[in-house]
Each structure stands twice: as structure tokens, then as C-alpha cells.
């Protein structure tokens, strides 16, 4: 059994009296696509921020890419990529400039940047748009570029925070093709989503309710466990029991 790339044990984060993340324990294996589900306010974002090294936990253990979240959060940042639900490219820079900027802050050399930028523009078929401002592109394209930029420096893990919000079904499908491709190349994908069809695409899914992990299994396993025909039903059964609302 290989070493897990993310490992948490009783991980807890409190804000005052409020327990945002309540003693969660799970492991993610290298190359896995791990779906991190939960209603709004369930504590997904807080947990993700801890794993990205942005927030330190109140108690419990967590290890990301072999580094401890308490002491080595700067090391963790070098090993991960991140794409958020909010739009994460600069609108008044061109596609090429965005790629070069984000590559640049991850310390890629000039030559590396040039090569990777060209490969990426090739792959996305953006020859005509490479020198256009990102603000002028449709949302679906921006999200694809965003994702490509997040994995440009070959991170061990990429964290995707509701990456397909507001995107049409066809683009979402294409987006998931890109995610599979990345996973195939050995990048672990940690993704939050509100789309239950996307949850079916994941290797394993965890569902958070009120700060704790209420269920964790493969989509097939979860459906069997909750006697449901699809992930929607599984999610609703669990989320209905939630005490915290928005």
C-alpha cells in the first residue's frame, strides 16, 4: 500500500465556540480523484483551507504531500495547486500573460515557462486567443485555463473548490476529461462540488454534515449503503439531518 498523499486524524478547527471542522479523519491515495461533498456551511471550505496551509487547525493531525500542516505549511504550498470557485485569473491580462505569471510565482524558469505556455496553448487549442485579454473569453474557457494553470507546475495534489460552478453541461464534461487526464498523469485531485453527477465521476466521495464526515466510500458503495439509485438521494438523506443551515 503506497503512502497516502493526504492524511488527517481527528482534525478539528474551532472559531470561538463554533466547531467548523469536527474531528475529521480520512486518507487520500496518490492519483485518486477524491470528491469532498457537503451542503453550504458544512465545513468543506475550512477543511480545504487547512489542507492548503492557509489556516492552522485547532487540534488533530494532518499531513499533506508528506508535510505537516502545523509546521510545514510553506512546504505544502510548493506541492499543491489550487483553483477556487471564485474566478482566479486576471481579467486584464492576456491568456499568455496569465499562464506566465502564475508559472512565474511558482518559480518556473523562463525557458520552462515559454515551453509550457506553448504546449498548453496548443493543447487547449487557444492559438487565436492566446494574446486576448482573459476578460473577453467565455466562462467555460476561463475555467479550463484556470485548471491548466493550477497544474502547470506539476503539483502532487490539486485542490479544486467548486470548479464548475455556473458552467454549461458540455463544458463541465470537458472539464472532467481534463481532471481524468491529470489524475492519469499521477496528480491527486481533491474536488468539492454541488453537482451530484460529478460526484459519480470521483473514485471516492466523502460527505460532510455539520463539520463531521458522515459518509466516505466509492460512489457505488455509498449508493449500496444508503439503498439509493443515485448520488442525489445519498446526499439528500445525509444532508437532511443537518442542524446547521446556511
Amino acid at each position: 500500500m503506497p503512502q497516502p498523499v493526504i492524511y488527517t486524524h481527528q482534525l478539528t478547527r474551532k472559531f470561538g465556540d463554533f466547531v467548523a471542522v469536527d474531528a475529521i479523519t480520512f486518507e487520500v491515495q496518490p492519483g485518486e480523484i477524491f470528491g469532498f461533498l457537503g451542503a453550504n456551511g458544512a465545513g468543506k471550505t475550512t477543511a480545504m483551507r487547512i489542507l492548503c496551509g492557509l489556516l492552522s487547525p485547532t487540534s488533530g493531525q494532518a499531513n499533506v504531500a508528506g508535510f505537516d500542516v502545523y509546521r510545514q505549511n510553506e512546504e505544502i504550498k510548493k506541492q499543491i495547486g489550487y483553483m477556487s470557485q471564485k474566478f482566479s485569473l486576471y481579467e486584464n491580462l492576456t491568456v499568455r500573460e496569465n499562464i506566465q505569471f502564475f508559472g512565474g510565482i511558482y518559480g518556473l524558469s523562463r525557458q520552462e515557462l515559454k515551453d509550457k505556455t506553448n504546449v498548453l496553448i496548443d493543447r487547449l487549442g487557444l492559438h487565436n486567443e492566446a494574446n486576448k485579454l482573459v476578460g473577453a473569453l467565455p466562462l467555460g474557457w476561463k475555467q479550463k485555463i484556470s485548471f491548466s494553470v493550477a497544474i502547470l507546475h506539476r503539483p502532487k495534489i490539486v485542490f479544486l473548490d467548486e470548479p464548475t460552478g455556473g458552467v454549461d453541461p458540455i463544458t463541465r464534461r470537458q472539464f472532467w476529461d481534463m481532471i481524468y487526464e491529470a489524475a492519469h498523469d499521477g496528480i491527486t485531485v481533491f474536488v468539492t462540488t454541488h453537482y451530484m453527477d460529478e460526484a459519480e465521476y470521483c473514485d471516492r466521495v466523502s460527505i460532510m454534515v455539520d463539520g463531521a464526515i458522515a459518509a466516505l466510500d466509492t460512489p457505488a458503495g455509498l449508493k449500496k449503503q444508503f439503498n439509493a439509485t443515485n448520488m442525489d438521494e445519498v446526499f439528500l438523506q445525509l444532508a437532511r439531518g443537518a442542524k446547521r443551515g446556511d
Partner: protein
């Protein structure tokens, strides 16, 4: 270092592509300099004067000519009765009415005493004061010419010398003022807005999960604005020297060094604001009300601090613009060296360290 360079390049692109910030950065100083230089001059030139001449003799005519020839006045019309005085003021046609009494020349030469009445429009008190002064000096000159050969007993003559600015040019006052205002506004506002913008857009999060140290993220956002503010200093000084013909009497190097220090002060204020607020609007409002207003009121540029009540005088000391303004005037206008501005410099250094310290602390707390 590479990441730092990538960041600065990106920041410059942001600014150079955003027409609004370009206009503010480079348009504002130029417009302000030209406005203050030509439109908002506190010197009063070519005021219209009405004359009510009861005397109609040689002396009164000579004086009327002199008034008309002076660069400060032009004789607009002649009146024929006291009743018309009020009318011309009501219509706002003239700023001053000069009334010569009957037998003006005769009384002047024989009884050694004669009164000329000057009537000003004090609905604008400053201007009418200045106008009356100019007019009185024309009469004084004439009187001196007459009494040239005769020495008056017991006369005290005041010989006035206006040091540093003999022509009383208003540019000596406003160039340092404009520099102070522009740097305060741009340094604090542009930096805070640009950082808060990244928070709003969500890109700040991406930057924070990158391996760049958070402190470096914030500092590298401030550096391009430091360069841009410095360019503004250069623009203002060039306009002052070549367009308004105002000399820089002291050391240019010292002036630039002090300006750099003040830019740092304003940038650290901008960082402080951005660590507290979350929206661009709030950041802008904060900078305008929190910094520009006190800068206008308490720098001594528009209102003399000496005339303020004690609590306000004490308050003026915590406004950084006051100190920079006094430094610029000392160097540019009086030509003083570093030893004369040590106190102000130290105060600015202290303020910068203080603001920067709080900003960094606040920033760290947010991340924890």
C-alpha cells in the same frame, strides 16, 4: 527573486492597461499643477476699477492713469455720483471704487492733507484686502515722489524685504502642497485599492496558496506604486521648474530622498487600510476621507496651522503630510540642507515604521 520580478511585471501591466488608474496617476498631477499654476493663482491681476473723480484736476488724472497702467488694475468706467457706486458693485462689474474729493490737487499741495476714499467689495474679503493694498501702494508711491525733496519730520519708513520669495509667487506655496497631496492620495489609495481588488476578485487566495510568502505578496504589490509615485514627483518638479519657473534652491538629491521616504509612509498607510477593509469602495472612501481631508486641512498648505485653536494644532502633528510639506518647503524654497529637516525626517521615519508594523501584524493575524 524570479517570482518577485514576475509579480512586478504583472502589476505594471494592470496599471498600464487600466485607463482609469492611468488618468489618476499621471493626469491628476499635471491637471493640478496647471490649475494651481494658472487658474487658482492667489495673486489678483487686472481687477476692474471704477473712478468717481470730483476733482478732475492734473493730480487726479495722473493717479487714474497710474492705476490703469498697473498690472493689477484696469479702469473699467467713470462714475458721476455716489449713487452709482452701489450699482456697479451690485452688478459685480468692479472690485474697487476710487473716489477723489473736490479740490484734490489744491488740498494736496497746500494743506498737506487730503483724503482719497477706496471702496472695496468685501463679499470676497481676501480679494478686496489684496486689491485695497495694491491701490494704497500706488498712492504711497506718488506721495513719496512728491515729498522727495522735503524731509518730513518724524517719519518712520518701513523697508520690507520678503525673504525666499521676493515676488510673493504663489507657486512657492502650492508646488510643495500639490506634491504632498498627490503623493498622499496616490500612495495610500492606489495601493490599498489594488490589494483589496485582489481580495474581491478571489485572486488573493490563489496568491496566498502559492509558495510566495504572504508578506512578499503584499510588498511586491506596493513596489510598482512606489515607482509610479516617484515618477509623479519627477513630473511635478519638471512642471514646477520649466513651466512655472520655480527654482529648486536646495539639493535635488535630498528632495528626492525625502520624497521617497514620504512615498514609503503613504504606501504603508495604504497597506494598513488594505489589511482592514474588504471592498474597493471602502478602501477608496477611507483614503479620501481619512487621508486626503486631513492632508488638505492640516498640512499648512491651504490654512495656516498657527491660526488654528490649540486642539487642532496638536492634532496636526499626527498628520504625516504636515511634516513632508514642511520638508519640501525648506528644501525647495529656502534651500536648506539636511540638518534643518532632521526632525521632520525622523518623525516620518517613525510614522512609517509604526504604520508598516501594524499593517504587517494585522496581515499575519488574518492568516492565522
Amino acid at each position: 527573486m524570479k517570482t518577485f520580478f514576475a509579480f512586478i511585471q504583472k502589476e505594471f501591466r494592470h496599471v498600464l492597461r487600466d485607463k482609469r488608474s492611468l488618468v489618476i496617476l499621471f493626469g491628476l498631477p499635471v491637471v493640478m499643477m496647471i490649475l494651481f499654476g494658472f487658474a487658482l493663482s492667489s495673486e489678483v491681476k487686472n481687477s476692474n476699477v471704477a473712478i468717481l473723480d470730483y476733482a478732475q484736476d492734473d493730480a487726479s488724472r495722473l493717479l487714474i492713469d497710474r492705476i490703469d497702467q498697473s498690472q493689477y488694475f484696469s479702469v473699467h468706467q467713470k462714475l458721476h455720483s455716489e449713487a452709482e457706486i452701489e450699482q456697479v458693485f451690485r452688478k459685480g462689474q468692479v472690485r474697487l471704487v476710487v473716489i477723489f474729493p473736490q479740490n484734490f490737487q489744491q488740498d494736496l499741495l497746500h494743506s498737506n492733507h487730503v483724503q482719497v476714499r477706496l471702496v472695496g467689495d468685501a463679499s470676497d474679503p481676501n480679494t478686496s484686502n489684496i486689491v485695497i493694498n495694491y491701490a494704497s501702494s500706488i498712492f504711497r508711491d506718488y506721495q513719496n515722489e512728491l515729498s522727495n525733496n522735503k524731509k518730513l519730520p518724524y517719519s518712520i519708513e518701513t523697508e520690507t524685504r520678503m525673504l525666499y520669495n521676493p515676488q510673493l509667487k504663489s507657486s512657492y506655496n502650492f508646488v510643495p502642497g500639490v506634491m504632498t497631496l498627490i503623493l498622499m492620495l496616490l500612495g495610500a489609495m492606489m495601493t490599498s485599492v489594488s490589494i483589496v481588488k485582489e481580495k474581491e476578485m478571489g485572486t488573493m487566495e490563489i496568491l496566498l496558496v502559492s509558495p510566495m510568502r504572504p508578506l512578499l505578496v503584499v510588498l511586491s504589490k506596493a513596489i510598482p506604486y512606489m515607482v509610479l509615485c516617484f515618477i509623479d514627483v519627477a513630473i511635478i518638479l519638471l512642471l514646477a521648474v520649466f513651466l512655472l519657473e520655480m527654482p529648486i534652491r536646495g539639493s535635488l538629491f535630498l528632495l528626492l530622498a525625502e520624497s521617497l521616504l514620504f512615498i514609503l509612509t503613504t504606501l504603508s498607510l495604504g497597506l494598513l487600510v488594505s489589511s482592514v477593509v474588504d471592498s474597493q469602495q471602502t478602501a477608496m472612501f477611507f483614503s479620501l476621507v481619512g487621508f486626503l481631508m486631513p492632508a488638505l486641512v492640516f498640512s499648512g498648505f491651504m490654512f495656516p496651522i498657527e491660526n488654528m485653536p490649540l486642539p487642532l494644532r496638536i492634532m496636526s502633528n499626527i498628520v504625516p503630510t504636515k511634516w513632508y510639506y514642511s520638508i519640501v518647503r525648506a528644501i525647495m524654497v529656502k534651500g536648506l540642507g539636511f540638518s534643518y529637516v532632521i526632525k521632520q525626517t525622523l518623525i516620518l521615519v517613525g510614522m512609517t515604521v509604526f504604520f508598516l508594523g501594524i499593517a504587517i501584524r494585522k496581515f499575519k493575524i488574518r492568516l492565522a
